[in-house]
């Protein structure tokens, strides 16, 4: 058994939240730079250049990459041999987020009453998913989700006999409807299988995957490539200025599902897709 003071989780959450919001993920930056070199349309190329400059300034001056510092989604992979001491896990995570956001001047974006009866806007509570794993390790991921892209995310319950083309069309249509305001080039996270809710969680986890890493499933890797190609055919381009790069990557995670169904969830994320991970 490993005893971990919950304060450690609080501090780790804080440092990951600051990092996620100020340092653009290496793989995303590499993707943007590649797209910049490849893009021919002048306004599209200009937009990608501005994104690169923005990331450099944000990292250098510890400024938020985007003023929408989002609603953080926190994934905790908790080893079942770990005994958390000194408080509740969710309280520690929320305290860590609050400390990060307050110290760094990030924005309060979480309205307590979703029906807007009261205008009470805070830094928390954030969305926390805990997966219990074997062992003694704790893996923490803080992924602030901006809502320009969140608002255009979708789920569809396909028939189990649906053809791949139907699913691809749904993804392409979602990207098209997302439009310029969701800040392309997109990172598209897809979750397939499970139940309705599980598919969506998978799609969020997919956004935390390294876009340069090839999917370990050959079939999914090919499907990711096909979807990316089809999405880029719509030529929405960086910030909707047209061009080749409507999406930088498509990442698919799957789970077994019911014989009568095929949930397909799409989490659209913008060019400022943010996450930071650490294992302790």
């Amino acid at each position: 058994m490993r005893i971990v003071p919950v304060k450690k989780i609080e501090r780790l959450t804080e440092s990951l939240a600051i990092k996620a919001n100020t340092v653009l993920r290496k793989d995303i930056m590499a993707g943007i730079k590649k797209a910049f070199l490849d893009e021919k349309r002048p306004l599209a190329k200009m937009a990608l250049g501005q994104i690169i400059q923005n990331a450099k300034i944000a990292a250098r001056e510890k400024l938020a990459i985007c003023q929408d510092t989002g609603l953080p989604v926190v994934f905790v992979e908790l080893g079942q041999e770990v005994f958390l001491k000194g408080g509740a896990l969710d309280v520690a995570v929320n305290k860590g987020i609050k400390a990060a956001y307050k110290k760094s001047g990030f924005r309060r974006s979480i309205i307590q009453d979703p029906l807007r009866g009261k205008k009470d806007i805070q830094f928390t509570p954030v969305v926390i998913y805990v997966d219990i794993k074997r062992g003694e390790k704790i893996r923490l991921t803080v992924a602030p989700k901006g809502f320009g892209s969140e608002n255009v995310s979708r789920i569809k319950m396909f028939k189990p006999t649906a053809e791949a083309e139907e699913i691809i069309d749904f993804i392409v249509d979602t990207a098209r409807r997302a439009g310029p305001a969701a800040c392309p080039p997109f990172i598209i996270g897809i979750g397939m299988g499970g139940t309705l809710d599980k598919a969506v969680i998978l799609s969020k986890k997919a956004l935390c995957c390294n876009i340069a890493k090839v999917n370990s499933s050959h079939i999914l890797s090919r499907l990711e490539g096909k979807v990316l190609k089809e999405v880029n055919k719509i030529k929405l381009g960086p910030m909707g200025f047209g061009g080749k790069h409507t999406a930088l990557a498509v990442k698919i995670l799957t789970d077994p599902t019911h014989i009568a169904g095929l949930p397909v969830a799409i989490s659209i994320s913008c060019h400022a897709t943010r996450s930071a991970t650490a294992t302790i």
Partner: protein
Amino acid sequence: MKEIKITTPLTKEVIRQLKVGDVVLITGRLFTARDLAHKLLFSSLKKKKKLPFNLKGQIIYYTGPTNTPKGKTIGSCGPTTSSRMDKFTPSLLKAGLAATMGKGQRGQEVTSAIKKFKAIYLVAPGGCGAYLSKRVKKANVIKYRELGPEAIFYLEVENFPAVVAIDSRGKSIYN
């Protein structure tokens, strides 16, 4: 790419000359307002009450900045989605507002109003709040301080980059 320097207040002549797709660098004033401030401005207009600033020739920038760090003029201040402010925009254009600036498409009513009142719609680089903060030389809250990032800020900017997304002829970059 050719960059056209423009200053505020925008004259009818400058507005007329700007074409969809033009890259501009704005030096002068921006007034920020997003959802809640628009609701309040709209209500003031309807009740014929005095607005917090003179609209004529000015640019409203849709943004909700992060807090201002020590030693800086403003925090991260990139554009927010313009279409949420669509229903308030025609009245503001009618009252003399020269331009709005945000990101993404506008609805048909806004495009018609832009054409009718000879205004323009600009888009600033989305998700580039840190980069844009560098072009802001001065920032003050002038109204609705209690709304935090939803307040109306007065910004003095130098070479603030934007693209003409809808010109005064009603031509849109997204079509």
